[in-house]
């Protein structure tokens, strides 16, 4: 095995072009896969010390998270304490302190797990992934990456994930069901981005789910149902039914469906309720 | 007797070495001229096998591949000698040890394991203990899968049920459980200056280990020495032999120090589990909730080997009534071989599974009779002087009533119940 410790993005994409090796950042999944033979690679290219890849940058309209930014860095960043709190909360439920100190947002995207905690909030933000190879840069929508099963080419490096900053009145929330509090792969998760108008009607709603399908995805039918309505108990209950209907069709025949169909109610309401609470300052449900 | 320490906080004698990381577990011990060993295990649950180690032995750095042919007396086991040190003709579970590679380092061991050829001739397997009890089921050992049958007969259960106002009849199942002690099995063996086969291992039973190693290697016990290192948790899971005989044999054959360390995965595959049980219960009570009769058939799946099955299932039988006085009792507690991972000792030793059944029976009876679940227990619990189903008279303190009262008070049980009903 060869091992390279990349110092710049340029160097890494050159190495990738030459060796088609495996990129390693946090290594929290990759090292396990390499050891148990699920993955084989003659070349490892480490990107965990490339400063440009491990920082969060705020621009006028957008936020750019470097691919090798760890979950701990996101959790501790002041940008994610207010209306983007949902991303912090999602990152905070990843693994354990040890895993969050090493695991990266780019890694969460690259390994494509349906249970990746950080993805649903990023989907609500209509994020895009920036990739680079010696042939140049390429941007793909995060949603398309999953939905259209777009693969990251062997010589491509994930540089960052970007999204437009939501307005102050738009609140990102997240809720997860794990089998225990720490070190739990999510059984299901929901993220929402919510904004109300002056009449308390839903002005903006984005909903994304984790582990309710083969990959994390947006829930457009539920979004459409809620748009323009007031979030009364009745409306919310109906939204849960819509979601249950949609996931039922998607997960039909899976042994986990009966359980998830019931469990999703609480998790959906927790995410949405958290958004409402943050907007209105009061507990709604 | 010196009772100075009673009622005082005493610092653990080994705590300082453990908080500083200086405490040595077997994998922390290194010796000059030391080699490494790794076990080849069965990948199928039930099969006849043919072993070809030729290719593996030719690998550079491989020192020896041990199989059943190298073991003077190829059997062991805490009660029944139903384990083979290395399987000779047949494997009975996934994970059965077949060979032990000794090589210069761990990597070569891994490499050599892949080069040992095992031809499996698979035979019908049995995983359900109920099915395994039937005459026409595949047999794991010998001509019956029933390892042990413990019986309690007290009074006349038929009469008891006839007089019962409410009867609860249910089947309960528990699953197997792994101890998951934090330090996977490891050990190191060498020949000491007095020529003794010495094994340093984290074990619960150094004296049994010595006996079993001596017997397998056909040595006198004086020629075998076990040194217990620090033990990274056990909970019953280190009561059976794991790598002790493999290491001792290798040290004796090669006359040099040898070490083996299991991965977490191998640890799970190698050692015993808590017995999963299928418990068929019938319990009857009169109109006031007084228990009149109980009949239980408890089937414990001991997997491919008996280990402590007799003791475990006996304990399940003895505790089958729970802490309740019942005049008419019939218990059949049976341990059965299957091709599942083998079951053995784990904290509670069979007393932990039966409460799943007898306590739910109490709740179900309470509900049928419209009696409070605490009241029905208070009516039936053992007190000083009570006689258990096995005829034991409880002469000493039996403060169960106080315990239940205290718990009910602390959890504000009355409040919870008002909401429940």
């Amino acid at each position: 095995m060869q091992a390279y410790r990349g110092k710049t993005i340029e160097e890494v994409i050159q190495l990738l072009a030459k060796y088609k090796g495996k990129v390693i950042a946090g290594g929290t999944d990759l090292i396990i896969d390499l050891r148990n033979g699920k993955l084989t690679s003659d070349t490892l290219i480490d990107i965990s010390s490339i400063e440009e890849l491990r920082r969060v940058e705020e621009y006028d309209e957008t936020i750019n998270i470097g691919a090798a930014t760890t979950f701990t860095q996101i959790i501790e960043n002041p940008l994610f304490q207010e209306n983007l709190y949902g991303l912090k909360r999602a990152c905070n439920t990843v693994g354990s302190p040890q895993i969050r100190n090493k695991g990266t947002i780019g890694g969460n995207i690259a390994n494509g797990s349906p249970a990746a905690d950080s993805i649903p909030p990023l989907l609500c933000l209509d994020s895009i992934i920036v990739l680079e190879s010696i042939k140049g840069k390429r941007e793909i929508g995060l949603e398309d990456y999953y939905k259209d099963n777009i693969s990251i080419k062997e010589d491509e490096l994930i540089i960052s994930v970007q999204f437009k900053k939501p307005d102050k009145g738009q609140i990102l929330s997240f809720a997860k069901l794990g089998l225990r509090k720490a070190l739990a792969i999510s059984r299901l998760s929901i993220a929402t981005l919510l904004e109300l108008d002056e009449n308390n009607k839903v002005k903006t709603i984005k909903i994304a789910s984790g582990s309710l399908g083969r990959y994390p995805m947006r829930e457009p039918i539920v979004e459409e149902f809620l748009l323009g309505r007031e979030l009364t108990v009745d409306v919310t209950d109906k939204a849960v039914k819509v979601l249950q209907q949609v996931m039922g069709e998607r997960l039909g025949g899976r042994s986990t469906l009966p359980y998830k169909r019931i469990a999703v109610e609480r998790i959906f309401k927790e995410a949405l309720g958290d958004g409402l609470k943050r907007l209105k300052g009061v507990e709604i449900w | 007797m010196n009772l100075d320490i009673v009622g005082r906080n005493i610092l653990r004698i080994d705590a300082l070495s453990k908080v500083t990381g200086k405490a040595l577990y077997p994998e922390d011990i290194f010796m000059d001229n030391m080699v490494y060993g790794k076990t080849l295990r069965s990948k199928v649950p039930h099969a006849y096998i043919r072993i070809d180690t030729g290719k593996a032995e030719k690998i550079d750095g491989v020192i020896k591949v041990l199989t059943h042919k190298d073991v003077p007396n190829n059997e062991h086991g805490v009660i029944f000698k139903d384990h083979e040190v290395f399987c000779s003709e047949k494997v009975r579970r996934i994970g059965d040890p077949i060979a032990f590679v000794v090589a210069k380092n761990k990597k070569i061991c891994e490499l050599a394991l892949k080069e040992i050829l095992i031809e499996y001739e698979e035979i019908e397997e049995v995983f359900c203990p109920i099915k395994a009890m039937k005459e026409d089921s595949p047999k794991v050992h010998g001509d019956t899968n029933i390892v042990y049958h413990y019986k309690i007969r007290k009074g006349d259960v038929e009469e008891g049920f006839k007089n019962s106002y409410a009867i609860a009849e249910n089947i309960y199942r528990t699953h197997m459980v792994d101890h998951a002690f934090l330090q996977p099995e490891a050990g190191i063996s060498f020949i000491d200056e007095e020529g003794r086969v010495t094994v340093m291992v984290a074990t619960q039973y150094p004296h049994y280990d010595r006996e079993e190693i001596a017997s397998a290697l056909e040595l006198s016990e004086e020629k075998v020495r076990i040194i217990n290192t620090n033990i990274g948790g056990a909970f019953g899971g280190r009561e059976d032999i794991s790598l002790q005989i493999h290491l001792a044999l290798a040290a004796k054959v090669l006359n040099r120090p040898i070490k083996a360390i299991y991965s977490r995965e191998e640890s799970f595959i190698a050692h015993a589990k808590r017995h999963s049980m299928i418990m068929k219960y019938k319990t009857g009570a009169d109109r006031d909730g007084k228990l009149l009769a109980m009949e239980a058939e408890i089937v414990g799946d001991t997997g491919a080997y008996a280990s402590w099955a007799t003791n475990v299932l006996r304990k399940s039988g003895v505790h089958a009534t729970g802490p309740y006085f019942i005049p008419n009792v019939k218990v059949d507690s049976i341990a059965v071989y299957t091709n599942n991972p083998f079951a053995g000792a784990m904290r509670g030793f069979g007393a932990t599974q039966v409460p799943i059944a007898h306590e739910q029976q109490m709740d179900i009876l309470a509900e049928k009779l419209g009696i409070d679940p605490i009241a029905i227990r208070m009516k039936n619990i053992f007190k000083q002087g009570s006689i258990t189903a096995t005829g034991q008279v409880l002469t000493d303190s039996v403060p169960l009533d106080r315990c239940i009262e205290k718990v009910a008070e602390k959890i504000d049980f009355s409040l919870e119940r008002e909401e429940a009903y």
Binding site: I24, G27, Q98, I99 | A15, S17, V19, G21, L182, G233
Partner: protein, 152 residues
């Protein structure tokens, strides 16, 4: 083989290592720091926890070559001038040690937590040690020990 430079328990090393070696193997086999324990090899148990540049990591999930330029603290690095660390002392006094296999990692997680947050709540202590499994104690004594070790 690659050459790496790193600092372990305050001491600088230049080491020749194999590419497929993990930080755990480097610490145990190259440097003989046997207080780093291997429990699961996949980041579930935390027995191999070390502090890397101020943050806890599972040393089984870091490749040794990735540790280039880093500063590592293992349990062996907590003793200062022959005195054990107050958290270690608290673990002894409270009775938070049983089999001892989780203890080094557990103490390092507690130390990293207290270094960052000298006065954590019980909830924060539980969160801080949530990546370290203990099969003996049921955690209560460990939490009491961290409580006792804080602010000393």
């Amino acid at each position: 083989m690659v050459e790496i430079k790193l600092k372990v328990n305050g001491k600088s090393y230049i080491l020749e290592i194999e590419e497929d070696m993990r930080l755990l193997d480097l610490l145990r086999e190259k440097l003989g720091l046997l207080g780093v324990k291997e429990g699961c090899s996949e980041g579930e148990c935390g027995a191999c926890t070390v502090i890397m540049d101020g943050k806890v990591v599972n040393s089984c999930l870091v490749m040794a070559f990735q540790a280039e330029g880093s500063s590592i603290t293992t349990i062996e690095g907590l003793e200062k001038e022959g005195e054990i660390h107050p958290i270690q002392q608290a673990f002894i006094e409270v009775g938070a040690v049983q089999c001892g296999y989780c203890t080094p990692g557990m103490i390092l997680s507690a130390k990293a937590l207290l270094d960052k947050n000298p006065n954590p709540t019980e909830e924060e202590i539980r969160e801080g040690i949530s990546g370290n499994l203990c099969r003996c104690t049921g955690y209560n004594k460990i939490i009491q020990a961290v409580e006792k070790g804080k602010g000393v």
